[in-house]
């Protein structure tokens, strides 16, 4: 028996164990029913077979696998099996000595060698083989060559006379009325043994003949009661075909007669059912047997579940009537059900139903909470299993079931303080039985289940069309998810370990950080909500999300030992701060965490979170009027042009060369659900406007600077796009608005600029998305006025000899002190060559700025300088490092000139070096 259960031997032992436990107390009334399901009965009977049979059986089995592997060209498998075969053959040495080498063995050796040689010749095929297979092929080839030397005589004789063995085969085939090649290697069969019949069944056979056979055989067998053979047949069945789902309904057949009727009725059924039929025959047989020896059938029902798992679902009842239902029995049952898990053809829905039924039974029988918890765990697990594919998302209704289950589970856990659950509890140390002293101990981790549930929720959201009602409906469940997490959190706080608490905290944080806390916001605005209804007030009673975030995050900072959870917590914390306009906290946290330095080593989801946080930080800075910070924070994301992708808010259209379907799937799984998205247009607008506020004055100040750097490439790109437009209509899109505003600002026309940036279109598109719309708009107007003033001064200072601050303040609608401070700053920074005349409140221009022609000449000079340098390099290459005296001479002279010019321009810092260098060279020249 164990031979056939080589892969699942432990289940075997359990099974027999249950045997002993099960009380032999089955009434005749329910017997029939249970009988139908019980077909493992024969396991109990042990029949002594000849050693020869046993050994040869083993060999034939191995040979069969090898043939199968040959058919599918699985060389690795072939090799493995061949090695086993050799070992098995060695074991059966003494029998072989007695009986001679079995011809089927020789046949295999010969065939295998031929086959390998043929494969070896086939260069094309070999190339296509994967590495493992190719390796296995060469090893196997060498092995079999060596091995076959021992059997040379037999093989040659076989090759000379393959007819003989073929004849033998034919005989057999006649008996079996089957032509499948897999049997050919079985020589040891004695006539029309039931075993051979059963064996052959799984392969393609004509239905009708089989039926006849089986009918006949069943008659024979029932009398001969060759149970051992039957058992083998079963073993094979389960091993090979795993399950026979389609034929299940037949298990219901109540009597021998019906079984036969069914069979005759459908002789053309697909071959999958063959095995089913076989079973039925056996069942019939069993029935007879059991009629004789009723003593054993009590335990029967349990075993049969094992053999043919799918049968379970037709069972109207879990247990035989009258079976005493106790913890052990239920656990046993549970194990049986679980065994089918993951097997091909197992009906997962049925399994879930079974588990539910089991839960109900255990509940009815008051088996205690321990077992219930265990069953619940398994129900949830199989709910998750329902989808075989990890990439696919759960059906929302399935997921809701799961949600209910987790809820119930939590209920139980809260009600019963004496239940310990944990992953670390070993299966055998579980304590499920009700007892006074000992608490329940159940293996399983509620946290993992909840996390999985949360992930499934994300997946569902990812796979729902965000613009449909369905999405809204699904999103409503988020509250329940949060509720569960909250309950879990309070449970874990009492029972869980630190790590678990950290994990559940992170879950909580993940569900909190992106939500804007309107209650707190309202409260901070001075409790305008007083007039609101009672419900509203009640709502606002709750803890501020900021406080919660703070508490949870700080716990994680202190206690977490896995870097990932802490990183996520920090990022979420920053995000939350930024979202609620606590700029300084957010910035400080970001700077203190040093995340910028090592975020590129994190995994993509964390990087996406980081990007989201940076963007939120930038937007926060913008709201606070820190234009430069906003620009810097957004620069990385925006300059790549892949903001969408970086924020996990959608995939960019790219050709398939850059990523294959597999990668695309992975990327899709990383997407952030729609309700957490950051508005990309808002992001771009914020970026462009900050770029405009920085870039336009800068451009005006450095109009003639040859080595002027762009602050924002993207902004320039937009400007260029705007310039390329052949016909300039009124702006439509957000970008066009910004471009038009930039153009107005370049002229210092702040009013037009203002009207382009802040108008109804832009309000509805962008500005209204901010929580404090009005404040942001005011800030923006102010910034526009200031920067326009600066731009105006840069651009037109050469036109003025002096300008009154009064006029400026009127032009830009700024107070005189502001104008004063702006101009002072410009003078200090040496951006504006002017001085303030205090008594008259005027700005007096120094007019030291070079004219455009002079600027041009300077630029040219610089360009020529680099030209000369490049030229010198060629000379260096040609004549060694000392490229001639005159070169240096000239260079020195030239640089001196250059530095002189630069001095004139009035910006000293970087140019000083050049001056010194020139001087140095001059001194050197004296030495030459």
């Amino acid at each position: 028996m164990s031979r056939f259960f080589a892969t699942g031997s432990d289940s075997e032992s359990e099974e027999s164990l249950s045997f002993e436990e099960a009380p032999p107390k089955a009434s005749g009334g329910n017997f029939k029913q249970s009988l139908l399901l019980s077909d493992d009965e024969e396991d109990t009977k042990r029949v002594v077979r000849s050693a020869k049979d046993k050994r040869f059986e083993e060999l034939t089995n191995l040979i069969k696998t090898i043939r199968n592997a040959m058919k599918i060209r699985d060389m690795a498998k072939c090799l493995e099996e061949f090695e086993q075969l050799c070992r098995a053959f060695l074991k059966s040495k003494n029998i072989v000595d007695k009986e001679g080498v079995p011809s089927f063995y020789i046949r295999l050796l010969a065939d295998l060698e031929d086959y390998l040689n043929q494969l070896w010749e086939d260069k094309e095929g070999k190339k296509k083989m994967n590495k493992n297979n190719a390796k296995a092929l060469s090893t196997l080839r060498q092995k079999i060559r060596k091995y076959n030397r021992d059997f040379e005589a037999e093989i040659t004789s076989y090759k000379e006379n393959p007819q003989e063995s073929a004849d033998e085969e034919e005989e057999k085939e006649e008996d079996d009325s089957e032509g499948s090649s897999s049997e050919s290697e079985r020589d040891d069969e004695d006539g029309v043994s039931a075993k051979s019949f059963l064996k052959k069944k799984p392969e393609g056979v004509s239905e009708a003949s089989k039926f006849l056979k089986s009918a006949k055989e069943s008659g024979d067998e029932s009398s001969s009661s060759d149970d051992d053979d039957d058992g083998e047949g079963w073993g094979e069945d389960t091993e090979e075909s795993g399950s026979e789902s389609s034929g299940d309904e037949e298990g219901k057949s109540k009597s021998l007669a019906t079984v036969f009727l069914k069979k005759t009725a459908g002789p053309d059924r697909p071959s999958i059912k063959k095995s089913e039929k076989k079973k039925k025959i056996q069942k019939v047989r069993l029935e007879e047997e059991q009629l004789e020896g009723e003593g054993e059938e009590g335990d029967g029902p349990w075993e049969k579940v094992k053999g043919g798992v799918p049968l379970l679902k037709e069972k109207p009842k879990m247990f035989a009537k009258g079976t005493e239902i106790n913890t052990a029995v239920v656990v046993k049952k549970l194990n049986e059900i679980l065994q089918a898990r993951g097997k091909k053809g197992t009906d997962r829905a049925a399994q879930i139903d079974l588990l539910h039924a089991l839960a109900a039974i255990s509940n009815e029988n008051n088996l205690g909470q321990g077992i219930l918890v265990k069953i619940k765990f398994n129900i949830i697990a199989s709910l998750y299993d329902y989808n075989p594919n990890l990439a696919a998302f759960m059906k929302p209704d399935m997921w809701k079931k799961c949600l209910d289950c987790i809820d119930e589970l939590l209920d139980i856990l809260f009600e019963n303080n004496n239940i310990f659950i944990g992953e670390n509890i070993a299966e055998d140390s579980e304590n499920l039985a009700v007892s006074e002293q000992q608490p329940f101990r159940v293996r399983g981790c509620i946290l993992t289940l909840a996390e999985r549930m949360d992930e499934e929720f994300t997946k569902i959201m990812q796979n729902t069309d965000p613009h449909s009602q369905e999405y809204v409906d699904n999103l409503k469940d988020e509250g329940r998810v949060c509720g569960i997490i909250d309950r879990l959190l309070s449970y874990m706080e009492n029972k869980g370990s630190t790590e678990e608490i950290c994990r559940v905290y992170l879950r909580r944080i993940m569900h909190t950080y992106y939500k804007f806390d309107y209650k707190a916001h309202r409260r901070s605005l001075g409790l305008q909500g007083e007039t609101k209804s009672e419900q509203d007030q009640e709502e606002s009673e709750g803890e501020d999300s900021a406080v919660i975030m703070d508490r949870l995050c700080k716990f994680i900072y202190a206690k977490d030992r896995t870097d990932r959870i802490r990183t996520c917590a920090i990022l979420c914390h920053i995000y939350h701060h930024a979202l609620h306009s606590r700029w300084y906290q957010a910035r400080d946290l970001m700077l203190m965490s040093h995340l910028q330095d090592n975020i590129q080593h994190a995994d993509p989801p964390v990087q996406i979170l980081y990007n989201r946080t940076m963007v939120q930080l930038g937007i926060c800075a913008f709201r606070q009027g820190m234009i430069k910070d906003a620009h810097n924070a957004l620069l990385d994301i925006q300059s790549s042009g892949r903001a969408k992708e970086l924020l996990g808010q959608g995939l960019l259209m790219r050709n398939m060369q850059e990523r294959n379907a597999e990668q695309e799937k992975i990327e899709k799984r990383r997407q952030v659900p729609f309700h957490m998205h950051i508005n990309l247009e808002l992001l771009e607008c914020v970026y462009l406007v900050s770029a405009m506020l920085l870039e336009i004055p800068y451009m005006a100040a450095h109009e003639f600077d040859a080595r002027r750097r762009m602050i924002s490439k993207q902004f320039h790109h937009q400007l260029r796009v705007g310039e390329r437009q052949p016909l300039l209509g009124p702006p439509e899109s957000m970008r066009e608005h910004v471009v038009a505003a930039s153009k107005a600002m370049k002229m210092g026309d702040w009013r037009t600029c203002h009207s382009f940036i802040i108008n109804e279109k832009m309000n509805s598109k962008v500005w209204d998305l901010f929580p404090e719309t009005q404040r942001v708009r005011e800030m923006l107007v102010r910034k526009i006025q200031e920067e326009s003033l600066r731009t105006y001064l840069f651009t037109y200072s050469s036109v003025y000899d002096s300008i009154s601050m009064q006029t400026l303040s009127e032009m830009f609608e700024l107070e005189i002190p502001t104008v004063h401070s702006i101009i002072s700053k410009m003078i200090i920074n040496e951006e504006l060559m002017a001085s303030l005349d205090q008594p008259t409140q005027t700005v007096v221009m120094h007019r030291t700025e070079p004219t455009s022609l002079q600027n041009m000449a300077l630029q040219l000079a610089e360009k020529l300088g680099s030209l000369v340098e490049n030229n010198e390099r060629i000379f260096d290459l040609k004549q060694g490092v000392y490229g001639g005296y005159f070169n240096r001479d000239q260079k020195g002279g030239y640089q001196q000139k250059q530095s002189y010019q630069r001095d004139q321009k009035g910006s000293y810092q970087q140019k000083q070096g050049g001056y010194q260098r020139g001087g140095y060279r001059n001194q050197n020249q004296g030495g030459y």
């Binding site: 004219t851 455009s852 022609l853 002079q854 041009m856 000449a857 300077l858 630029q859 040219l860 000079a861 360009k863 020529l864 680099s866 030209l867 000369v868 490049n870 030229n871 390099r873 060629i874 000379f875 290459l877 040609k878 005159f886 070169n887 000239q890 002279g893 030239y894 000139k897 010019q901």
Partner: protein, 368 residues
């Protein structure tokens, strides 16, 4: 005003020496002894060169036609082109007529230029006008005409019709008061190179061609019939001096700025070319080194083998092992250099004229 003029002068001397310096530098660095500027060089060399055409005589009609063509068709930096017709008398090329090319527009991409020319010339022959093709003309924008396109088309002209010339008309200078019309031909050396299409550094070196001797300028004489001359004289008597005021225009910055802008662009281009060449020569020397090492290793090994009595390693084709890197074509560099030279001449000419005018103005001011 009195104070201003010297200041301006100072200003210019302050800012412009880099040009001459660099210019000089480049001249010296390329080891060319010639210090004379190109126009002079061209003029002087053209006499000595063995060229079929030593002088060009243009009808006033042709000049007017060219000017009119630009006035009507060309705007801003757009370039107009046309065909010159005439005949060769001794060593003198007489250009007696011309006709314009139509401006290219996008919708007549399949316009057949050759067909048009043939048609045109046939029609002219029918009305008994000179119809021999002797070259072509082109307008220019601030003296930028030295380009690959010009080189190519002039080459094909000169290849087919030996005496053909290209007339460059500068409308901007003309607008400032002095007609600017110049005739150029490719030097025989350049013709050789273009024929062989060998623009590698070695090829150019062998031909000893620099940007100065790519083109030769041919002196132009404008000739009118006596009747026209008489008419002109009469008209000149009647005209007042006011018509020539633009000659005395003192403003300079606009023209200079444009020139500098163009000059800068060219310098940028040249810079790029130099960088390209630099990489090339670095690669080349690196490879030379590798080659050298390889050969040495080979020799050592062979020596060892000999001492051990083994046969030497078979000879391998070293050139196959080390393919020399593709040399960047140098023609563009030459053209850019020529163009820069051209701009510099322009600027120089313009500034010297303007300086003169400024001094004159100052003197006048002082006199008053």
């Amino acid at each position: 005003m009195k104070g201003d003029a010297p200041k301006a002068e100072k200003c210019i001397t302050k800012f412009f020496p880099p040009f001459s310096g660099v210019d000089q530098h480049r001249l010296m660095s390329s080891r060319k002894e010639s210090t004379s500027t190109s126009v002079a060089a061209m003029a002087s060399t053209s006499g000595t060169l063995d060229s079929p055409v030593k002088q060009i005589q243009i009808e006033g009609l042709v000049v007017l036609k060219i000017i009119k063509h630009y006035q009507e068709e060309g705007q801003g930096s757009e370039v107009v082109q046309g065909v010159l017709l005439g005949l060769v008398v001794d060593d003198r090329l007489e250009i007696t007529n011309c006709f314009p090319f139509p401006q290219h527009t996008e919708d007549d991409a399949d316009f057949d230029e050759v067909q048009y020319q043939m048609e045109m010339m046939r029609s002219l022959r029918h009305v008994n006008i000179d119809h021999l093709h002797v070259g072509w003309y082109q307008s220019t924008y601030y003296g930028s005409f030295v380009s690959r396109a010009l080189l190519d088309s002039q080459f094909s002209y000169q290849h087919a019709i030996e005496e053909s010339v290209v007339l460059i008309y500068d409308p901007i200078k003309t607008a400032q008061g002095s007609l600017s019309l110049k005739a150029y031909r490719l030097t025989p050396k350049l013709m050789e190179i273009c024929k062989e299409k060998d623009f590698t550094p070695e090829g150019l070196k062998k031909a000893s061609i620099g940007f100065e001797n790519m083109f030769e300028e041919v002196p132009i004489v404008i000739k009118n019939s006596h009747l026209i001359s008489v008419l002109m004289w009469e008209l000149e008597d009647k005209s007042t001096a006011a018509d020539k005021h633009e000659l005395l225009n003192l403003s300079s910055s606009n023209h200079l700025e444009k020139s500098l802008q163009l000059l800068m662009d060219r310098v940028d281009d040249l810079n790029q070319e130099i960088v390209k060449y630099n990489t090339y020569s670095r690669n080349l020397s690196k490879q030379q080194q590798q080659k050298h090492q390889y050969i040495q290793r080979r020799q050592q090994e062979n020596a060892q083998r000999q001492s051990r009595g083994e046969p030497p390693l078979p000879e391998e084709d070293i050139t196959k092992l080390f393919k020399p890197p593709q040399a960047p074509p140098r023609m563009d560099t030459l053209l850019i250099a020529g163009q820069i030279n051209n701009y510099c001449q322009n600027v120089k000419e313009f500034t010297s004229q303007n300086l003169g005018k400024l001094f004159m103005a100052e003197a006048l001011q002082g006199h008053n």
